[in-house]
Amino acid sequence: MITIINYGSGNIQAIGNIYTRLKIPFKIANCPEDVNGAEKIILPGVGAFDETISMLDKSGFRDVLDKEVLENNVPVLGICVGMQILANGSEEGQLSGLGWINGYVKKIDKELLVQKPKVPHLGWNSLEFSDDLPLYKGVDKEEGFYFLHSYYFECEEESNIMSKTFYGTSFASSVNKNNIYGVQFHPEKSHHNGVKLLQNFAKL
């Protein structure tokens, strides 16, 4: 069963609504014990980097997630800040990330970028990805996904970048390493493409 980690308010309900409509069983994990035996795990995004990491620590989710994801190879999907915490750390905070995918989260800095984009990066943007990716099966690249963020994931290893999106610069709009997936955009707010992606994740 798909297990959505509940560590405070956020987009949990929106993800659940889509799975309900797809008739794909899911449960919301309110405590670490609920994660035992999960077949798929979703880490939604809430608030800031440090806040999210400390909630994972305080609630006791961190140990069980390390076990299920790193030892039992359960597929995990981090969404928005849920993707950013997969990194080693972030300019947004002081705490260490989960460190599951090597990289660092940086602020979209208009001063550093040629096109001086507005921040936050807000709205629908297109993606570039190779056509054989199971997570993107049936997804329309041009239509893209809904983004809403001020920080982005800079991968240390190019091979961990699953898709790129251009906004002032070309950045990793999604990452993947083995059973670990992260998307910077909000599939739960991305209409048909988002539904498709959440359905594909369920089938992995």
């Binding site: 608030g47 936050p120 807000l122 629908w124 239509e143 893209g144 909000h186 707010k189």
Partner: protein
């Protein structure tokens, strides 16, 4: 490439959608949940709900509506109207709203912008500004354009950005309801003076007005109500026209 957004705005009163011409003479345009779903199917990029009769007593009705919309809709939506405290905003966030829009409350208590941004992140806070030309100056107005303030529109918007607004929804009261086109000169000035997204509002009457606002100004999104509610401009047709002018849109 980042798409320019098309945003239908649904004015809500007692859980029903209405649209006023110049904010008076309200007409019933249907059920918000049904309309929201239709708009998502048509290709709307986002929705805005403005609760025009929001009062403390009626807050419960709005929350129920937000919950119902959130259950049906998988595109982002903003809710505005009568939000004056952190608690108001939190209740709406928990009910499933993606963003909140504040207007009069921000003018009366600018620190509210800062507090909301700190509590929920800048991306959650849209500052709506109603502007009207008075003796050659663009002045911020409250109460649907009935009450003038001492704030110059351009100054207020820069201040709102500095306080933590994530987005500006700028409505020209001189253009709103006229169907004569957006206030392109003001929208261009404003969008160039700040580094957060700007939503253009007020004056949309035909497809050419949308083309004009995206070609002639730096706005990120355009909002309209009646032209969408009454089917005068079908969104798929609008987007195809924008695309013909090389304006990036999500088809």
């Amino acid at each position: 490439m980042l798409s320019k957004r098309i945003i239908p705005c649904l004015d809500v009163k007692d859980g029903r959608t209405v649209k006023g011409v110049n904010f008076v003479d309200l007409k019933d345009a249907g059920d918000p949940v049904e309309l929201a779903w239709q708009y998502a199917q048509q290709g709307a990029d986002e929705l805005v709900f403005l609760d025009i009769t929001a009062t403390h007593e009626r807050r419960g009705t709005t929350l129920e509506m937000v919950k119902a919309v959130a259950r049906q809709l998988n595109i982002p939506f903003t809710i505005g109207g009568g939000i004056t405290t952190i608690a108001d905003a939190e209740a709406l966030l928990n009910a499933g709203a993606d963003k909140i829009s504040i207007n009069s409350a921000a003018v009366r208590n600018p620190v509210l912008i800062e507090d909301l941004a700190k509590a929920f992140g800048v991306q959650f806070v849209v500052v709506a500004v109603d502007t009207k030309l008075v003796e050659g100056r663009n002045m911020v107005h409250l109460n649907g354009g009935r009450l003038i303030t001492e704030l110059e529109t351009e100054d207020w918007i820069i201040r709102a950005e500095n306080l933590g607004a994530g987005e500006i929804l700028l409505t020209s009261m001189d253009h709103d309801g006229t169907k004569n086109g957006f206030d392109c000169s003001l929208l261009d000035k404003v969008s160039k003076s700040i580094n957060i997204p700007v939503i253009a509002s007020g004056g949309a009457g035909k497809i050419a007005h949308f083309t004009e606002v995206f070609l002639e100004t730096g706005v990120d999104a355009a909002l309209a109500a009646s032209v969408f509610h009454f089917g005068e401009i079908p969104i798929p047709l609008l987007k195809q026209e924008l695309k013909k002018h090389n304006i990036p849109v999500r088809l």
